[in-house]
Symmetry: C2
Subunit: 358 residues, 2 copies
C-alpha cells in the first residue's frame, strides 16, 4: 500500500472552511485507490502569528519540507494589515514558496459546461475555455535584489525594487511550460512586456530559443496589455500561457472571470523535486468567513492537482474531478455560482455531496 | 480670434488614416467656435526613421514643445521590430513623453448607449460605464534607474530594471487624480501592489495622506489583481482610477474591452504646463493599415480631449463629442463596432459623417 504524508496548512479565514473538505476528499479518493495518506496539520499566516508570533514557524517549514505534498488554505487577516512586512501573514506564503523552491505556479482555468452561465464574459466567449497559466513564482520583481526604501536628492522617500530575469531562470520555467503544452494542445503563448522591460527582453529571447527544441509546439508572444485584452475577448485561443510572477498574478486573477468565480480555481506550485504546494486561488475572504457560504471546489480541485502533480496519482486525481463534475450535474451550487434552477447549498453541504459522489 | 498651433504627428500605419480626420474635425469645430488653428505636420516613429534615421527627430521634439498641443497618431511597424531599442519607433513615444514632461495619462472609458452591444462583457455589466483612468506616465518601471543587462555569478545574462516611486512623484499624479475625481463623481480608486512592491507602499501611503485634503472624495485602494477582476465583473463601481505606469498600461487596455473596441478610446498625456499629447489608444495596426477599415473615433475623441484639456476650449470639445454621438445615432459603424441593423462604413466615410454632423 502506498503511503504519503500531506502537510495541511489551513491558515486563515475561509481556509479553515474549505481545507477540511479537501482533506476528506483526499482521504476518500486515496483509499479508493489503495493510497494511504497521513495528514499533519500545521499553523501558517495569521494563525501562526497568534500562536507563536511569526507567520511561518520554523517547524511548519521543516515539516512541509519533509512531507510529500503541502495542502494550503489561505493566509491573511485584516488585523495584521498594519504589521511590518516580515510579520504579515502573506509573508509566510512568499517564505514557504522560497523555502520549498517551488518556482512554477500552475493555474488551470476551465469552464465547466454546467457552469457556463456563471461567466462574467459573454457566454459564447466563455464556452469551452480550457487553458493553463504557468506563472514563474520565485523570481522577477517579487524576489527583487536590490529592493527597499531610500531618500532621494530632494529628500523624498522612495520605494524601489528590481524586476529581473536571468537566462537560466527563464529556461527553468519555460521548460516546464513547453512540457505541459506538449501534453495539452501544443500551443504556448508567452506573455511579457519586451518593448519596455529588460527582464522581458531576456525572457522573449530564451523562450524563442527553446521553441526550436519543441517544433511540435506552436509558440506565440503577446505583450501583457494585449494578453489582458485577449483573455477577455477571445480566451478560447489560449492553451498554455507562460508568464512571469507579476503578470501571472494579474492574468490568473483576471482569467478567473472566465469561469466566473475565484471559488472554482485551484493552483499548484511545483519545484524540481520535493513537495509542491496545492492551494485554492481565493484568499482568506474575511467578508465571507464563518458563514458557511464559500465554495469548497477550488480547494477540492487543488486536492486533485495534489494527486496529479504532487503524488503522480492520476487515477485518484481523476476520481476527484469526476466527483466535482457529478456534483455539478446533480445541480448543487454555492452562492458564488448559483443560477436559477439549481440548488443553493453552503460550503459544508457541498463538501458532503462531493464525498457522496466520490 | 484665438489662434493656436497644433503639432500633428501621424506616425505609422493607421495613424495616417485617422489623424487627417481628427485634423479636419479640429479645424471645423474650431472655426465654428471662432478658434483659428494652425497645423504643423512632423515625422515620428518609423516614418521618422525612414526620413532621418531616428525615431524622434530633434526638430519634431522642438516644434512639439513650441506648439500649443500635440496630436499623435501611432508609432511602430514590424520592419523595425528587431532594431536596437534606441532605434525602435516606440522609443519616440517614450522620448516625446519625457521631453514634454507629460506625467499624467488620462484614459476615459465610456460606453456609448448606442454601442452597448459592442461590449465584450455582459451587456448589463457594461451599460452606463463611465470611468477615467489616470495613469502615471513618466516614472515607475518605465523610467527605471538603474536598468540594463548584466551577467550573474553563473555567467548568465540578466535583464533588470528598477520599479520605484517617490513621495513627490506620487503626490504629483495623485493631485491630478483627486482634482479630476472632484469634477466627476468624487470617487477615487487607487490601484497598486502594496503587498509586494515598495514603490506601491509609498504610493498607498501618499494617496492615503492626500485623501485628508479631499474629504469630499471617497477613496479606496485595490490591489492590481483585484482591480483587473473588478473591471470585468463590476466596472460601474469605478469613477476615477489612479495607478502607476505599468499597471495603467494593463488596466487601460483591459478596460477597452468594456466599450468593446480600442478603436473608440482616446487619451491625453498632460504635464504641469506646456503642450499635452493627444492620441488614440490603438496602435499603428499593421494588419489593418491601408484598408480604410479602422475606426477614426478614437482619434476624433482625442481631438475633443485636445480642445478640453489642451486648449481649455470646452465648447469646441463638446461640439466634437456631440458630432460623434450624432453619427452613432445616425447608425454609422466601422467594422470593429458593427452590429446587425447598423450601417457598415469605412474610415474615410466615418470621417465625412463626423464633419457632416459637426
Ligand atoms: C498574496 C500575494 C503575495 C500572492 C501573489 O501575488 O503571489 C497572491 O496574490 C497570489 O496570487 O498567490
Ligand atoms: C508602446 C508602449 C510603450 C506604450 C506604453 O506601454 O506606454 C503603449 O502600450 C501605451 O499604452 O501607450
Amino acid at each position: 500500500k502506498k503511503r504519503y504524508t500531506i502537510a495541511v496548512l489551513p491558515g486563515d479565514g475561509v481556509g479553515n472552511e474549505v481545507i477540511p473538505i479537501a482533506v476528506e476528499a483526499l482521504r476518500l479518493a486515496g483509499s479508493l485507490e489503495g493510497i494511504d495518506l497521513r495528514f499533519e496539520e500545521l499553523p501558517i499566516g495569521g494563525a501562526a502569528l497568534d500562536l507563536v508570533g511569526v507567520p511561518l514557524p520554523e517547524e511548519t517549514l521543516r515539516k512541509a519540507k519533509e512531507s510529500d505534498a503541502v495542502l494550503l488554505g489561505a493566509v491573511g487577516w485584516p488585523k495584521w494589515d498594519n504589521n511590518p512586512k516580515h510579520l504579515k501573514p502573506i509573508t509566510a506564503l512568499l517564505q514557504l514558496r522560497a523555502g520549498l523552491e517551488v518556482f512554477s505556479n500552475l493555474r488551470p482555468i476551465t469552464v465547466f459546461p454546467q457552469l457556463v452561465d456563471s461567466t462574467y464574459l459573454r457566454k459564447d466567449t466563455a464556452e469551452g475555455v480550457d487553458l493553463m497559466i504557468i506563472r514563474e513564482l520565485t523570481g522577477g520583481i517579487y524576489n527583487a535584489h536590490p529592493r527597499g526604501f531610500t531618500t532621494n536628492e530632494q529628500g523624498d522617500e522612495v520605494g524601489f525594487c528590481t524586476e529581473s530575469y536571468s537566462a537560466s531562470e527563464v529556461d527553468h520555467i519555460a521548460r516546464v511550460a513547453f512540457d505541459i503544452a506538449k501534453q495539452r494542445r501544443s500551443k504556448l503563448c508567452s506573455v511579457d512586456k519586451a518593448t519596455v522591460l529588460e527582464g522581458s527582453m531576456v525572457w522573449r529571447k530564451r523562450v524563442t530559443a527553446m521553441a526550436l527544441e519543441y517544433p511540435e509546439v506552436e509558440v506565440s508572444h503577446l505583450l501583457i496589455d494585449t494578453a489582458a485584452m485577449d483573455l477577455v475577448r477571445h480566451p478560447r485561443q489560449f492553451d498554455t500561457i507562460l508568464t512571469g510572477v507579476m503578470f501571472g498574478d494579474i492574468l490568473s486573477d483576471l482569467a478567473a472571470m472566465i469561469p466566473g468565480s475565484v471559488g472554482l480555481l485551484p493552483s499548484a506550485a511545483l519545484g524540481d523535486s520535493g513537495p509542491g504546494i496545492f492551494e485554492p486561488v481565493h484568499g482568506s475572504a474575511p467578508k465571507h468567513y464563518g458563514k458557511d457560504t464559500v465554495n469548497p471546489l477550488a480547494a477540492v480541485l487543488s486536492a486533485a492537482m495534489l494527486f496529479r502533480y504532487g503524488l503522480k496519482e492520476e487515477n485518484a486525481a481523476k476520481r476527484i474531478e469526476k466527483a466535482v463534475s457529478d456534483v455539478l450535474d446533480r445541480g448543487f451550487r454555492t452562492r458564488d455560482i448559483h443560477t436559477p434552477g439549481t440548488t443553493l447549498v453552503g460550503c459544508k453541504r457541498m463538501g458532503e455531496e462531493i464525498l457522496r459522489s466520490l
